[in-house]
């Protein structure tokens, strides 16, 4: 193997490891008896850990891979860590869940790994068709995963909905790529930038292309007005899959959005600023107001993740390097707290996911204090209480947005004020869960089940991460800033 080929491999080492582990799981699956299937889960987890180590390998040998198709820069490395951590926590949460639901199968883990590989490509892509391949790889895997509870009608419905609307959205994305190619003659993200810069004014075809890509990507990150499917899918999917769905693909797709908007269309930020602005306001209000009236915790968390996509858009609107860093930090914080919250919900759902109502959580504070404290931590972090990751995420997001007021004027200050008001609206529904857990009388028919070791490790890691990012964010923040600087911004 020549050094170039080896270097190329190093630069996609995480994806490589994820795919190898996935394939290995699929090969071994027929040879493993039904009672031992859970070991495939551990194998997949090991694969994810190796992929995490491989991220280090990629970090050591940064640069462009495969003729500039993949860009392994700090930005991509950061997102790889986020995505793979989310995927491995989701795997840990799945092992006992699948046993409980009686759907323990090898392909589940393989699909999670392939999805993660797709998201890795999404985060590192420097070429739009490559990005499309990554998007499809992660999407198709998750379509199947959402419907993994074959016997539950909600799961099937969710899978169908997600598949139909999802393919529609990816078609938009593809059409957008075609437009961009028509306008600029290239599909390389950095070359589009150069083409748009030299052309002086932005051709309208390129703007239409951006709009279409915005539809496709906006669908995947669940922002208004493309958010309608989100809560149904999140509610219907098996909870560990929701865990994955609400965290990793969102992070990876935001990464691609950053590359497309900031790098390719950096010169056109005044065009897309208002689109992001309006979308952010809608997303925050729809997410928060709808979450207020939910009684199903899973659905409530789904709306909350829509609201959080809105806060991310606030930082996104900044269109500065600081904005990129803020988005990255927010994604890292968001993934940890959201994964943590959904993992707790995974456990509390009990067999058949029957106990998802807020009232079902009554008295949890006395019955399962540790679980209740961790869920409270995640909820308070989502709420944005200081000393947690969620607060600093919002803090840096607002900071970067305010910092950009010299570029965007008063509009972005208003955006921050709207976001601030929204985070108070959001406080109400997060606190409702805490009220139920601590202030309400315990329901008598609830028999607490002990938390499986794998799940408790996952919850612990998420909780520790949430506190770490909340109290000592410097290292992650520095990395996020370095990642932002590694993007060839306008």
């Amino acid at each position: 193997m020549s050094t170039t080929q080896l270097l190329n491999l190093y630069r996609v080492a995480p994806e490589f490891h994820l795919c190898i582990a996935g394939i290995l799981v699929m090969i071994l699956d027929p040879f493993v008896g039904p009672s031992r299937k859970r070991w495939l889960g551990w194998l997949a987890f090991a694969g994810a850990l190796f992929a995490l180590l491989a991220v280090h390998r990629a970090y050591e040998s940064q640069g462009m891979a495969y003729d500039n198709l993949i860009s392994t820069d700090s930005f991509s490395i950061f997102m790889h860590v986020v995505v793979i951590v989310a995927a491995s926590l989701a795997i840990l949460g799945s092992i006992d869940y699948l046993d409980r639901e009686g759907i323990q199968r090898g392909e589940y883990y393989a699909l999670v790994l392939f999805a993660a590989a797709g998201m890795g490509i999404l985060a590192g892509a420097n070429e739009l068709v490559t990005a499309f391949v990554g998007l499809e790889m992660s999407s198709i895997s998750t379509y199947v995963l959402v419907g993994f509870r074959r016997k539950a009608a909600v799961s099937n419905e969710a899978s169908m909905k997600y598949f139909l609307l999802g393919s529609f959205a990816t078609a938009f994305f593809l059409y957008g790529i075609a437009m961009v190619y028509g306008a600029t003659g290239t599909t390389y993200i950095d070359k589009v930038q150069a083409a748009l810069q030299t052309s002086g004014s932005i051709p309208s075809l390129a703007i239409i292309g951006l709009g279409l890509m915005f539809v496709g990507l906006g669908f995947k990150v669940v922002i208004a007005p493309f958010q309608v499917y989100g809560p149904d899918v999140y509610e219907g999917a098996p909870t560990p899959v929701t865990t994955l769905l609400a965290s990793a693909p969102k992070a990876a797709t935001f990464a691609l959005m950053l590359r497309v908007f900031y790098v390719s269309y950096g010169a056109a930020s005044e065009f897309w600023f208002w689109a992001i602005w309006i979308s952010a306001v809608l997303t925050m209000f729809i997410g928060n107001l709808a979450a207020l009236v939910q009684t199903n915790v899973k659905r409530m968390l789904a709306y909350s993740s829509i609201a959080h996509a809105g806060y991310i858009l606030v930082a996104f609107a900044a269109s500065t390097s600081l904005g990129v860093a803020a988005v990255l930090f927010y994604l890292a914080a968001y993934v940890l707290m959201k994964v943590g919250a959904f993992l707790v919900v995974t456990h509390l759902g009990q067999q058949g996911e029957k106990r998802l109502d807020i009232q079902d959580y009554a008295g949890l504070g006395t019955k399962q204090p540790v679980l209740a404290v961790s869920l409270s931590l995640f909820l308070l972090s989502l709420l944005g209480l200081p000393a947690t990751a969620g607060f600093l995420g919002k803090f840096f997001a607002f900071e970067s947005a305010l910092d950009a007021h010299s570029v965007h004027g008063v509009a972005i200050i208003w955006l921050v004020v709207i976001a601030a008001i929204n985070s108070v609206i959001g406080a109400y529904y997060y606190l409702r869960v805490i009220i139920s857990m601590y202030f309400a009388e315990p329901s008598k028919d609830y028999v607490p089940s002990s938390v499986a070791p794998a799940l408790s490790v996952a919850i612990f890691v998420a909780a520790a991460g949430t506190l770490y990012l909340g109290l000592l964010p410097s290292r992650v923040l520095d990395f996020a800033r370095a990642a932002a600087d590694s993007l060839p911004l306008h």
């Binding site: 209480l385 200081p386 004020v417 606190l431």
Partner: protein, 523 residues
């Protein structure tokens, strides 16, 4: 180091509490009490080593934290010193008063109480806006739990109302803090102050920033018309919760006004002073009137807070040494007196499980000791000389009178009204025949309750007699604040205290002298 120790010692004892078994109630209570007494002792060291002539921040600590802009910076000056002491003084009292009344989830209760203590002290000692905001928000959650878990019937409603109100204010303050950071590039309070002192801030920006900060603090104080969360939170909270809430937490608001709003945005503060002064006076009179007609004893005491805190805000916005010293002193007085009122009301509640005034009557017969202390506390709250409340109110009124005759006269009506509502309520509760048969057999104050009441009464008396000990230490810091306010605009404000034979230049030479004169007159 001392300040860090004081700030985080309660958190350390929380760790100790968490190691105990949840049903080991006796030791949970003991450890909480002992650690809070140690905490008080440490804060006394702070008091004795404090240099009264120094206007700068003392016991400062500095560590880098997040990036270059956010640091861990602590320090106290004459304004925050006594508020720290107030916190460390009231916490053991609050623990002692919950000794028997809290029986469910005892561990959680004392953990919440100690976390609140750390957070409140943190607010008073942090000199970095980020750190300040962190502690500021941290006070909310344990208080929310305290009201929601150990409160009375409508506790959940009250807890949610409390937290949403306060969060709404503080989130806008966060935006303002970030805005300040964008302008000055730092979160350090002294650096920001220096930056703002250059006068480079556009007028509208200053007004907006002032507004965002002030809204957060005004909700906390609470200033009329933002007070509606307070009666609910107070009425529903357990006794210890009310003591902490009224005793210290409301002062976070007035402290914030004095520490941030006024010195950072002096022009805006001066401009808005007429409006805020009027709101404060409305609060004084309205709070007093509403308190008069309450049938629920605890709600009555809650409304007295609206009235008394109106005095404090009025004092701050009178912008002279005497009034501001009086305002700070009144913060302490209100903490002690109203805290003590809530303690006494809580003792009645422990016996009868009601706050309804109609359920009482003639209580002086079965409980002479408890009710005489109640009277003493009520007298301190209605500002009877030579008790503590008198000094604070008088200083505020004198200070206000210098610049605003009308304000002072309206505000003094509050002093009269306070006598009406407190004495009338006391009369209905304590005097006359025992109307409800059950009350005849009520036990008088137990040893534990006597310890609490005597401590509070001694504090009240001491603060009434020895006020120069306090005001002397506040003075340089207050002068410091005033310098910022008065420097650009009217430096030639008439510096005369036109009563009781105080020296004509009392304002510049110090309120201490004026105060001595005031006290002489008072006695």
């Amino acid at each position: 180091m001392l300040l860090s120790v004081i700030t985080f010692l309660p958190l350390l004892s929380v760790a100790a509490l968490l190691l105990l078994r949840s049903d080991d109630h006796a030791w949970i209570r003991r450890i909480a009490l002992i650690s809070s007494l140690f905490e008080f002792a440490f804060s006394l060291i702070l008091l004795f080593r404090f240099d009264p002539s120094n206007a700068a921040y003392q016991f400062t600590e500095y560590h880098r934290w997040i990036g270059d802009a956010i640091s861990y910076r602590l320090g106290v000056d004459g304004i925050s010193l006594f508020l720290v002491l107030l916190t460390t003084f009231l916490t053991p009292i609050a623990i002692l008063c919950s000794w028997e009344s809290i029986q469910t989830n005892v561990k959680g209760f004392f953990v919440s109480l100690l976390v609140i203590e750390t957070a409140m002290i943190g607010v008073f000692v942090s000199l970095d806006l980020f750190l300040f905001f962190l502690f500021w928000e941290l006070t909310l959650i344990p208080m929310y739990f305290m009201i929601g878990m150990w409160g009375h019937e409508r506790r959940i409603y009250a807890a949610v109302k409390f937290i949403l109100y306060t969060m709404f204010g503080s989130i806008l303050m966060l935006v303002a803090i970030l805005w300040l950071y964008g302008l000055s590039g730092t979160f350090d309070l002294t650096d920001i102050q220096q930056y703002l002192a250059t006068g480079s801030l556009p007028h509208t920006t200053e007004l907006l920033l002032f507004g965002a900060f002030f809204l957060a603090f005004a909700i906390k104080v609470p200033l009329f018309p933002l007070h509606t969360w307070l009666p609910d939170a107070h009425t529903e909270a357990p006794t210890a919760g009310s003591v902490i809430l009224a005793g210290v937490m409301l002062k976070l608001g007035t402290y914030g006004i004095l520490r941030f709003c006024v010195p950072l945005f002096p022009k805006a503060a001066q401009e808005m002073a007429p409006l805020i002064g009027v709101l404060a006076i409305i609060g004084i009179v309205y709070g007093a009137l509403v308190a008069t007609v309450q049938t629920d004893l605890k709600r009555l005491v809650a409304y007295t807070s609206v009235s008394h805190l109106g005095f404090v805000v009025l004092g701050i916005f009178a912008f002279n040494t005497t009034a501001i010293q009086g305002a700070i002193y009144q913060m302490l007085n209100h903490g002690v007196s109203t805290g003590a009122l809530f303690l006494a009301v809580g003792m009645l509640y422990d016996r009868r499980h009601t706050h309804d005034i109609k359920q009482f009557g003639g209580l002086a017969t079965p409980m002479p000791i408890l009710m005489s202390f109640f009277l003493f506390i009520a007298l301190s709250s209605l500002a009877l000389p030579p008790l503590n409340g008198f000094i604070g109110e008088l200083m505020i009124l004198i200070g206000t009178y210098i610049g605003h005759h009308v304000w002072a006269s309206w505000a003094s009506s509050g002093a009269v009204l306070s006598a009406i509502y407190l004495l009338w309520a006391y009369q209905r509760v304590a005097f006359g025949e025992v109307t409800v048969e059950k009350n005849r057999a009520l036990p008088d104050a137990s040893t534990r309750e006597r310890i609490i009441l005597v401590t509070m009464a001694l504090a009240i008396l001491f603060m009434g007699i020895a006020s120069p000990l306090f005001t002397r230490r506040m003075e340089p810091s207050v002068e410091n604040v005033l310098q910022r306010v008065n420097a650009p605009v009217n430096a030639s404000r008439p510096a005369r205290i036109p009563c009781m034979g105080a020296p004509a230049d009392a304002q510049t030479t110090g309120g201490g002298a004026a105060l001595a004169a005031v006290q002489a007159g008072g006695r």
